[in-house]
């Protein structure tokens, strides 16, 4: 019956059906009379559309409808942007381009046909007559005077500018000569690449005037609201269902034009319309991540104490805003001080339009960029002052006693012990031994690199005051007549395993079997409220809502049981399927109390029948997980190839509810973070064509490219939520990128190489070794 569940390696409830191929993703859903949609996408990054000739497509037998921008103009809402900073320029973003395209892959026309292949063939028959305009793909060039302007009405390509300034810069300047270290870093553009691409089915019932949408999304409730607004169907008659989702990494934390087009077509045709994104479309038209140019200045004393940090962030937003596009670089500014007590900070952020796909949230969303900047900076400080990178970090850490710690950036870190994770990872890696080995190998002409990264991230998003559309999460616990428990969560997962962790929470709290708890999510008709899964918020915010709902159930059950037993409710403990007094003298079965509650024969006065409790948890603050990572690399002096030999990490995500799931999150995160450091890069050529448009061209890493990850944890609980959990979804991605780059730069020290921009391809390293490049 009830054993200890929280903190245990409990196998995922989700896995049997997923491993056996018995789960249902959007593409597995087939409805009667369902039609299929395909898109014609722009082959020019910037052009006026002179004419769209759809005649041949429309004439093809089996084609039901063809829509262009003019068919939806004024009838279907624009793709929404939820970010709302001051002075933000939001260009009109129609679901199908009207008269002008601004990036490669922008949808121009939609074809609906009786099958998917026919729709694709018909789309190929549509002739678009373009008048090409010059394209700009480099954000720095887009900022320069005389650049062609993407959205003419704005007069330039600047979407927004923000400044963050704190401390006493006059004192810093007066205190010179401090050492000032300057470096430009490029956080290159990445593709999120979820295993399952996007997909949607919209089904409008004209009789009932209801719209049901199945979508591979991270945010069913937000999507429901937005699709209702865009399509004009009453929100109370709209429903979004999210079946299994095969990954998202932030890319499905969005409302896409294709989703609204499926609704539009279904409403016009009165039949279900399905669209499944192809992998090539996924590269072109699903949001991208990162893409920033960061100019850093760091002010440091001779003893390694950093007193000030200045950074200019130029963020390439792409041609249009998706849901959170402009908000992402502001998270970089917010977290740029990392885990260091730096009193003076100045960050200027510029969001720039270019003729590329929109950037938006990709695993880490703004924080990997920040961590990369500050962690590379710490190594540059160590390098310049000839100090050990671990020592420089330690010198700038706040003490564990300083928490909660208000940072000059405006955030308050909850709890941390940075010294502890650093010490643990140094020990795990055998740091001093590694340094000796490095010394020995250098003499033999072999180049070993030891790279450190100590990160902090901002998670559990977040307090509603800081979020565009609320930061709470909702949870419901319902005890059924048979004593089985149904849990409803608004935090719709896309592979995180909430059906397991949330069942662990409820089963342990109610003292019942893990198998007796079933968690549902991702259906806006079943789940009354919800926001979604992103920003490492699911367990900390969504899990807490469920935990609190379970507390309410317990309170009610205790009252009913006490009434029956003739004792005080406070005395009852829930375990082994029973409610019993702490002395064990009196007890009553869980099922018996449930029957009392539902059949309502002798309820205490004022107690309503039933056992359904709903909670909306509003977190008072973000949480700030942290950790320390070490990457050990070998660089081949002949070829410039990097071999990642070992990887060690100690992550602190607060209390751990299921170590197996925490490991899984860290492993996946590491793969993506290391991918950015060594291999991955989305490349647009100077004409604006995407040249890395397939998995043959975009270097997504495979399992054999990684060593075994040596993961471990410390557990510093947060007071922000009663579970004490902080979040772990993005930690691996955030901590690993700088650790690997620092490692490779450490290996290249004998060559006088100071910095090389990612990805660290053999060609770049080989050239740097040959040229002894001091700075890129």
């Amino acid at each position: 019956m009830s054993t200890k569940l929280l903190g245990e390696r409990i196998k995922r409830k989700e896995d049997p059906r997923l491993i056996q191929g018995r789960g249902h993703y959007v593409d597995d859903i087939k409805l009667d009379g369902m039609l299929h949609m395909a898109f014609v996408r722009s082959v020019y990054p910037h052009a006026r559309i002179k004419k769209v000739d759809t005649a041949a497509a429309q004439a093809l037998p089996g084609v039901v409808a063809v829509y262009t921008g003019h068919d939806i103009q004024g009838k279907l809402g624009l793709v929404p942007c939820a970010a709302g900073m001051e002075g933000l320029k939001i260009p009109d973003h129609p679901c199908l381009a009207i008269d002008k395209v601004c990036y490669i892959g922008e949808p121009i026309a939609a074809v609906v046909a009786r099958d998917r292949y026919l729709a694709r063939d018909a789309a190929d028959l549509i002739e678009v007559d373009y008048d090409p305009l010059p394209a700009v793909t480099d954000p720095l060039k887009a900022l320069a005077k005389g650049s062609n302007i993407i959205h003419e009405k704005f007069g330039d390509n600047v979407a927004f500018e923000a400044k963050l300034e704190a401390g006493d810069w006059k004192a810093v300047e007066a205190d010179l000569p401090l050492k000032v270290i300057k470096q430009r870093f490029i956080n290159q553009r990445l593709a999120p690449i979820s295993m399952e691409t996007r997909g949607v089915i919209a089904s409008y019932s004209p009789g009932e005037d209801t719209l049901t949408v199945w979508s591979s999304t991270q945010i069913p409730h937000i999507l429901k609201t937005q699709l209702a607004l865009m399509s004009g169907v009453d929100e109370a008659r709209s429903r979004v269902i999210t079946p299994e989702v095969g990954g998202g990494f932030g890319s499905k934390l969005n409302v896409y034009g294709e989703e609204a087009m499926a609704c539009f077509a279904s409403m016009k045709l009165g039949k279900p319309v399905k669209w499944i994104e192809g992998r090539r479309e996924n590269f072109l038209a699903t949001i991208h991540g990162r893409d920033q140019v960061n100019d850093l200045e760091i002010y440091v004393q001779a003893d390694g104490k950093v007193v000030g940090l200045k950074c200019v962030i130029v963020a390439d937003l792409g041609a249009y805003h998706q849901l959170l596009t402009p908000a992402i670089p502001t998270l970089t500014a917010l977290m740029i001080l990392g885990c260091y007590n730096i009193k003076n900070v100045y960050v200027e952020t510029k969001g720039v339009f270019t003729n590329k796909m929109a950037t938006d949230a990709y695993r880490g969303a703004g924080r990997p960029e920040a961590t990369y900047i500050i962690e590379r900076a710490m190594d540059l400080v160590a390098h310049e002052l000839n100090m050990d990178p671990a020592e420089v970090r330690e010198k700038n850490f706040p003490s564990p006693k300083d928490f909660p710690l208000a940072l000059p950036t405006g955030v308050t870190y909850d709890t941390a012990n940075y010294q502890k994770t650093l010490k643990r990872v140094l020990k795990a890696a055998g740091y001093s031994k590694l340094r000796k080995e490095q010394e020995r190998l250098r003499k033999k002409g072999k180049y070993l690199g030891i790279g450190l990264s100590t990160y902090v991230e901002i998670c559990a998003m977040g307090p509603s005051s800081r979020m565009p559309a609320g930061g709470w999460e909702a949870g419901t616990v319902r005890v059924e007549v048979t004593g089985k428990v149904t849990v409803l969560s608004g935090a719709s997962p896309h592979g995180q395993g909430e059906e397991t962790t949330f069942a662990q929470i409820v089963a342990e709290e109610l003292g019942i079997s893990f198998d007796d708890v079933t968690v549902y999510h991702g259906d806006t008709f079943q789940i009354p409220m919800g926001i979604g899964t992103f920003g490492s918020r699911t367990t900390a915010v969504g899990g807490t809502a469920i935990y609190e709902a379970a507390q309410r159930i317990k309170k009610k059950m205790a009252r009913i049981a006490a009434h029956k037993l003739g004792i005080k409710p406070g005395e009852l403990k829930f375990s082994d399927g029973k409610l019993q007094t702490s002395d064990g003298q009196k007890s009553i079965g869980f099922g018996e109390v449930v029957a009392e509650a539902i059949f309502a024969k002798q309820l205490p006065p004022g107690v309503e029948p039933g056992l359904t409790e709903h909670c909306v948890f509003e977190p008072p603050n973000y949480t700030f997980p942290f950790g320390a990572h070490i990457a050990v690399t070998e660089v081949d002096a002949e070829t410039g190839e990097v071999h990642l030999r070992d990887y060690f990490c100690v992550d602190d995500c607060g209390r751990i509810l299921n170590p197996m799931l925490v490991d899984g999150q860290v492993h996946g995160g590491l793969a993506q973070g290391i991918g950015q450091a060594l291999w991955e890069e989305l490349v647009y050529d100077e004409n604006g064509q995407l040249v890395t448009g397939t998995l043959m061209d975009y270097a997504l890493p495979k399992a054999h490219q990684f060593p075994w990850f040596n993961t471990s944890n410390t557990e510093t609980r947060t007071p922000v939520n009663p579970l004490g959990v902080k979040g772990v979804g993005e930690a691996g991605t955030i901590g690993s990128t700088p650790a690997v780059v620092n490692s490779v730069m450490d290996a290249l020290r004998p060559f006088g190489v100071r910095h090389i921009d990612m990805p660290l391809k053999p060609e770049k390293i080989w050239n740097a070794m040959k040229g002894g490049v001091k700075a890129s």
């Binding site: 082959v43 020019y44 190929d124 090539r280 072109l284 448009g693 397939t694 061209d697």
Partner: protein
Amino acid sequence: MTLEGTYKIPAPRDLVYKQLLNPEVLSHALPGCEKLTPNPDGSFSAQLKIGIAMMKGTYQGRVEILDAVAPEHFRMLVEGKGSGGFMKGEGTLTLTEEGGDTLITYTGEAQVGGLIASVGQRMILGAAKQNVAQFFQEFAKQIAAK
């Protein structure tokens, strides 16, 4: 993408120049050329079947000859579009006499867009070079047959 090189044709310059502008010869020599018809304005309309990587498709195009100075050189503009995207190129061909032979020196810039750019980019320069080589080989054969 830049394409440049030389090719020697064992034939007199006047003949080579003339045949380079002969649609019948060209249509046989151009790899994948299914149709090449002269337009009243002096340009040609072309239908080409090209395969790069997995991107096989038919392209409708236009070839225009500019700045022609017989028998020395001419400039050529090529444009094509099809389901796989578009291509655009501009090149100059210069003919010089070498003994009784003709040396063709060509230099050009080409741009591709759409699916061919994102899918075939890795192969495109190789494929283009191969097509140019094929063209001259076939062209030399055609000349020899004259």
